[in-house]
Amino acid sequence: MDPTRKRHIRLVVALSAALLLASALVYTSFSASSEAKEPSQLARSANAGQSYELTGKVAAGSVSREGNTLLFRVRDRNGSNSVAVRYTGAVPDPFREGREVIVTVRKQGEIFVGEKDSLVTKCPSKFSNEQNKSS
């Protein structure tokens, strides 16, 4: 076979394979993703069983434990609307009232059940001037 033609065929095959893989990547990322929602949005429109990524701040006075389960409420970053979360799993060190958290949840009745080990507390970080002023 003509070497140029051979090279073209190789290129088309490689590009098709790359396109196929990229399509799979795009499709699965949209289908497997969790929507990021604030508590007020979840309180309005959450569907039972669907996974959401809840983001907000841990409400003051809302943290308690029931055995291995951590109970707390997450409120809007700039507001007081909040939802109750039942969570089991690793709790990051910086977790406490007033901290910004991200947790993957599913609605079960009136509360939101956190996915095991999905709780992330934002590091009150090295670069966060706000935190340093308050501490």
């Binding site: 990322s29 949209f30 993703s33 990021a36 690793a90 992330v120 934002k122 970080s125 670069f127 340093n132």
Partner: protein
Amino acid sequence: MATLGRACMLLGLAVALYSVAASIYGARAGRRDWVASGRRAIYALAIILSVAFATLEAAFLTSDFSLEVVANHSSTITPNFYKATAVWSSQDGSLLLWVWLLSMWSALVLYFTRNRAREIAPYATAVLAGFAVFFCGLLVLYVNPFGMTSPVPAEGSGLNPLLRNPAMMIHPPMLYAGYTLWTIPFAFAVGALITRRVDAEWIRLTRRFALAAWFFLGIGIMLGARWSYSELGWGGYWGWDPVENASLLPWLIGTAFIHSVMIQEKRGMLKVWNASLVLATGTLAILGTFLVRSGILESIHAFGASTLGTPFLILIGLMTVGSIVLVVLRRSALRSEHRLDSLLSREAVFFVQNLILVALAFVVFWGTFFPLISEAVTGTKASVGPPWFNRYTVPLALVLVLLSGVGPLLAWRRVTVANLRRSFIAPTAIALAVMVVLLLSGVGERPLALAMFVFATFVVGAVGQEFVRGVKARRVISGESPPVALVSLVRRNRRRYGGYTVHVGFAVLMVGVAASSAFAHPRDVRLSPGQSAQVDGYKITYVRPTTNLANEKISLGAIVDVSKDGKQVARLEPSRNYYPSRDVAGLGVIGRFFEGEATSEVGLKSGLTRDIWTAVSPDLNALMPFIAEADKKFAKAGPDLQGLLVTALTERYLNQPPPAQFRFIISPLVMWIWIGGLIVVGGALIAMWPASRSSRRRASAGAAARVARDLGRA
């Protein structure tokens, strides 16, 4: 100090601007004196920024709270090591560290190349000085590391407790060293493309810098993982956090570049690919720095100053567009000198490995930026979690490990079937034998982990075989003893055998990752003193609580006994440290000691076969009524009385301990992640170490012979 520091920043900006202008003018007008002046301006910049950095360091070490950055990130009781390293715990200080490192590397590379690459170097100087202009500009116009406080506080806020870990304090400079070093090959690639000098010269000039960039970035990533494992109290070392991913992206593309440049050096192929890879790596290094600072993605790392996002985006946009334009305009000069002879050749494997690395980087990039992509497409911010990342990265990592064993076994250009058989039989046989043993041990339940173990064995076998063959050949030639032959073999070809050692380290590291991901047994359990829990055949008993009042913190912990089959295996002492908050008004005079930042001290028994990891969260609810009462009754208590009250409270915790929440993880082979990392470091050092003069002479003679042979064929 503030005046000196500020003056240095302004002067640094002016000198960097001059260097850009002088270098470009010198190159365009053919004025060597201006080019030399532009280069010397970079030397001056390195000195000026060294003075600025030393000034800030001195301010931290002397607790000069007249500087805002010192008052916000250090205190008089912060240990000296952390005072020195707290410089880069602030946004301002870390940007200064960035540009200081950039100026040092730039001065170093321009000094080494002062009599070489006369066409490329002026443009490279202008690009490097351009980066310095950008960062000095940020430090002059947006953030000021030498900003003053008024009034000057008597005491500083102290360093964030989470950062008080040696690994965490070395981790940022390592990452920054990696990021800044990647700008060197980037700048020389731009210079080579502008001047159409796209042969392998710019690669040779910057090879060691590219290797060092890869090396430091890798160490930075490993230290971050180690910190996460031992400090963050969740027991993991990698969480696909956007900021973690940001450091992985340039490392992945940089790894591809380090391999593919060998093809250009050996065979004059893949010039477009190499130029694209190094330009992408440089851009990703800036993207990594940008991600850390912009706060555009939800991350465990919350970074305040989002005002830096816009200038960074402009820079990244310029770099991306400029890179694409340059590669497109120079595509004719970047034509390959040779074609791929055979798919069964080392260069073909390198290329496939390159594709895998780029695919990995694309997956990580897509997943990291998915919240922004989904918002742009659907209007809703959505993100993908670790399972999504693992779905793609695990199979790609498997192929990558396998190829890191296949590559060393194949010759350049093409191999014969007989050679293939000779090279592959032993490593394949060893890998298959290990697979049978693992299947009999029940590892087959986790096929991906099994595949990783088998492929890693193949890599170790393949590389081991190459070492054995090399030593045998040396012994035939020189009659040296095996250890001497091994040393002289590596010394004579550091790049090759250093690289092979890196492959072994990578395979070992991935074995640790696969084993600890697939076979870890985590358990969260609430225990009172005397109670036990079973985790993966281990009996874990909460013996008694512990307390400790140290200079800056209160530690509440536990003594935990771990036994198996009635025999004690370990005694662990996890604890939780509470650092006092300065918010007396909000938290109370005593409450502030318990409601401030808290960090975990992990109880860890590491072993070659498994780690027993535990963290404790004491339940402070039982103490809360007493803390509230003390806050009310002793609202005006002085430091001595506060100390007595805190002591009384901790004694109460000790004498009437409430149940505590534990997280136990029995995780196999974690130690091999760190051992693999160390092997990678060792291999990289061997590869980077300058060759002896005699070896260089031999290499030059070899190159001359190859050229003569090629000319003879032509």
